[in-house]
């Protein structure tokens, strides 16, 4: 289960970064805003999930 969750979190982070870079490449304009928000939110969620998984694994190793 943890492997699937890690894979999903990594996928979310990478896809978010790709969206962010591709939309930002069009330049800063009003129409880019929703895409930038989406890319940033995907990266944030992916990193947040990875941090949670890392914390759980660290806790399990200590025990």
């Amino acid at each position: 289960m943890i492997a699937v969750r890690t894979a999903l979190a990594v996928a979310m982070t990478l896809v978010g970064a790709i969206v962010l870079v591709r939309v930002a490449a069009l330049g800063l304009r009003a129409e880019s805003f929703p895409g930038l928000v989406l890319g940033a939110a995907m990266v944030a969620l992916g990193v947040h999930r990875l941090a949670l998984i890392a914390r759980v694994r660290r806790g399990a190793t200590r025990q």
Binding site: V4, L8, A11, M12, V15, I18, V19, R22, V23, A25, L26, R29, E31, S32, P34, G35, V37, L38, A41, M42, L45, H48
Partner: protein
């Protein structure tokens, strides 16, 4: 005579169970909302989802704080009754009941729409009677299952939710990697920006992609250590749903279809297959998944099935949730005691299930009527600007959600000010400290932002939905009249509230939740507060 204690709900829901319970309810909404919003808001669909999404995050945070502080099954109705009084508690609960009855019909309807992707005989426009009877059969079947006491198990919900999260993430990954053209997104936003009216319509429909947070509080009473579990799982739920909704809307606008899409002999872009096509609006995610290169071959087969299962679970949660809310309102003397009556053999609230299931069937008949009798289309066109059946159900769904959420924000603010002694393990950020009646309290700024957002969506709904404008307020007025008749009959205050011992109730709630540290903290807070008051009285 020995004292008998009321049976309590078993606390067996784990953190994943709590997440999947909410996900199976809210996660299905995007399957319904996407097509409707693309049809209404066109090139600004992603902006409509972004605005509704910001409001949804505020609502989610409010529910998280309230459900973790007051982990009881009444949900929004309980918070509002406690914060604002009986009449407002009734109105919030009655609006939630409207949403649950619509939930039954809307999700059964779209379950059939998704199935029609693989079984064309179920297509609504081509075979309206088949579509109607299959939807009706699903609703009757769910009512029967709930009467005999079968409901979705947490384990089954968990499996479907996990499959759906993996599936939706795969659709988004493949979609953004192989089919997404940012230039197309910008082009569509520039060339197909809707009128302000259409944007308001789209925004009010976008909120239906985020309805179902009630399930967070519904699950609270059955969750182990809810004060710690609820914040963790509901924040994950809020972020997941938000990102899926934002992703789908951006992907749909920037999607380069794998195969050419032809409408009226012209090649069109993906989002253009939704306006004026109720069949497509009801199965948008399946259509989007099928247009992703390579992955679409598999997705076209399994996404309709997965979507239909998720939507059926959500429809079932409407049957189950409406009976439970009616039961909770009845025990609080907000609805007649008949809704507490349980079946002698099955031990289920049969009257509630049959009553609200019956209302759902009536809503289905009203929504399907113009397609079953084309002669009635003229009447619907004149009175309701020709809204489709799916549009009618979405109208009422948006109205019920916006009304109940508005009350929940007010309750959040009121409880922060007038019940500062209840320990809050999770508190929404951005607060202004102040003193009320000698007690330290914190004013939630996010509550005000969320309230303004949801009230604006309520205004958009009333302004842009011809049927919702009539049927929504009518539902509330009928409910209030029933409430007054019942309260008068029971000699209870009509506009005021009964006497509630909230202190004792809160201690019981925390004890039953197993949150003994919080219970001790609450009792200590009460003692300290009483001592301060006694000291200040002696001083004066």
């Amino acid at each position: 005579m020995p004292a008998t204690s009321k049976p309590q709900l078993r606390r067996a829901v784990t953190p994943w169970g709590s997440f999947s319970w909410g996900y199976s309810d809210v996660g299905a909404d995007i399957f319904v909302g996407l097509g409707l919003v693309l049809a209404a808001a066109a090139g600004a669909s992603n902006v409509a989802f972004l605005f509704a999404g910001i409001v949804y995050v505020c609502i989610g945070l409010a529910y998280t704080e309230l459900a973790a502080t007051y982990p009881v099954a009444g949900g929004g109705q309980y918070f509002v009754m406690r914060g604002l009084g009986d009449i407002f508690g009734f109105m919030a609960g009655w609006a939630v009941l409207l949403d649950f009855t619509i939930d039954i019909t809307l999700f059964a309807w779209t379950c059939v729409d998704y199935s029609s992707q693989l079984l064309p005989v179920l297509t609504g426009s081509a075979h309206p009677w088949v579509h109607f009877f299959v939807t009706l059969t699903l609703i009757v079947g769910l009512i029967a299952l709930n009467v005999v006491g079968v409901r979705e198990s947490t384990a089954f919900n968990g499996v479907v939710s996990a499959l759906d999260v993996v599936s939706e993430t795969s659709i988004l990954c493949f979609g953004f990697l192989f089919a997404f053209r940012p230039q197309l997104l910008v082009h569509n936003m520039q060339m197909h920006w809707p009128t302000p009216y259409q944007l308001m319509l789209g925004t009010s429909l976008a909120i239906i992609s985020f309805v179902g947070l009630e399930s967070i509080s519904q699950a609270a009473q059955e969750t182990q250590r809810p004060a710690s579990t609820i914040p963790r799982t509901s924040i994950a739920l809020i972020l997941t749903i938000l990102i899926f909704a934002l992703s789908y809307s951006n992907l749909a606008l920037g999607l380069q279809p794998w195969h050419p899409l032809i409408v009226n002999g012209h090649a069109v872009q993906f989002w253009e297959i939704f306006p004026n096509n109720g069949d497509n609006q009801g199965k948008a995610v399946a259509l989007l998944a099928s247009q992703i290169p390579y992955f679409g071959v598999i997705a076209a087969l399994y996404v309709p099935v997965l979507g239909a299962v998720l939507l059926l679970i959500s429809s079932n949660s409407g049957v189950f949730g409406s009976s439970r809310i009616a039961y909770a309102m009845s025990t609080s003397n907000l609805l007649p005691s008949i809704f507490q009556r349980v079946h002698p053999s099955f031990r289920t609230p049969v009257i509630s299930i049959v009553t609200f299931g019956g209302i759902a069937m009536f809503e289905l008949a009203f929504a399907a009527f113009p397609s079953l009798y084309p002669g009635a289309m003229g009447v619907y066109g004149r009175l309701f600007r020709g809204e489709s059946g799916l549009g009618f159900l979405a109208d009422l769904y948006a109205f019920g959600a916006a009304t109940s959420y508005s009350f929940v924000f007010l309750a959040l603010i009121a409880l922060r000010l007038f019940d500062p002694l209840s320990p809050r393990k999770f508190k929404i950020p951005l607060n202004v400290p102040l003193r009320i009646r000698g007690e330290r309290a914190e004013f939630p700024v996010v509550g005000v932002i969320g309230f303004i957002g949801i009230v604006s969506i309520l205004i958009f709904t009333l302004f842009t939905h011809p049927i919702g404008r009539i049927a929504g307020p009518t539902w509330l007025v009928v409910g209030i009249i029933t409430y007054f008749i019942y309260r008068r009959h029971r000699a209870l205050p009509l506009l005021g509230s009964q006497t509630h011992d909230w202190r004792k109730r809160q201690v019981d709630i925390l004890r039953n939740a197993g949150e003994l540290e919080l219970m001790d903290e609450y009792i200590a807070n009460l003692k300290a507060s009483d001592q301060r008051r006694a000291a200040s009285t002696r001083g004066t």
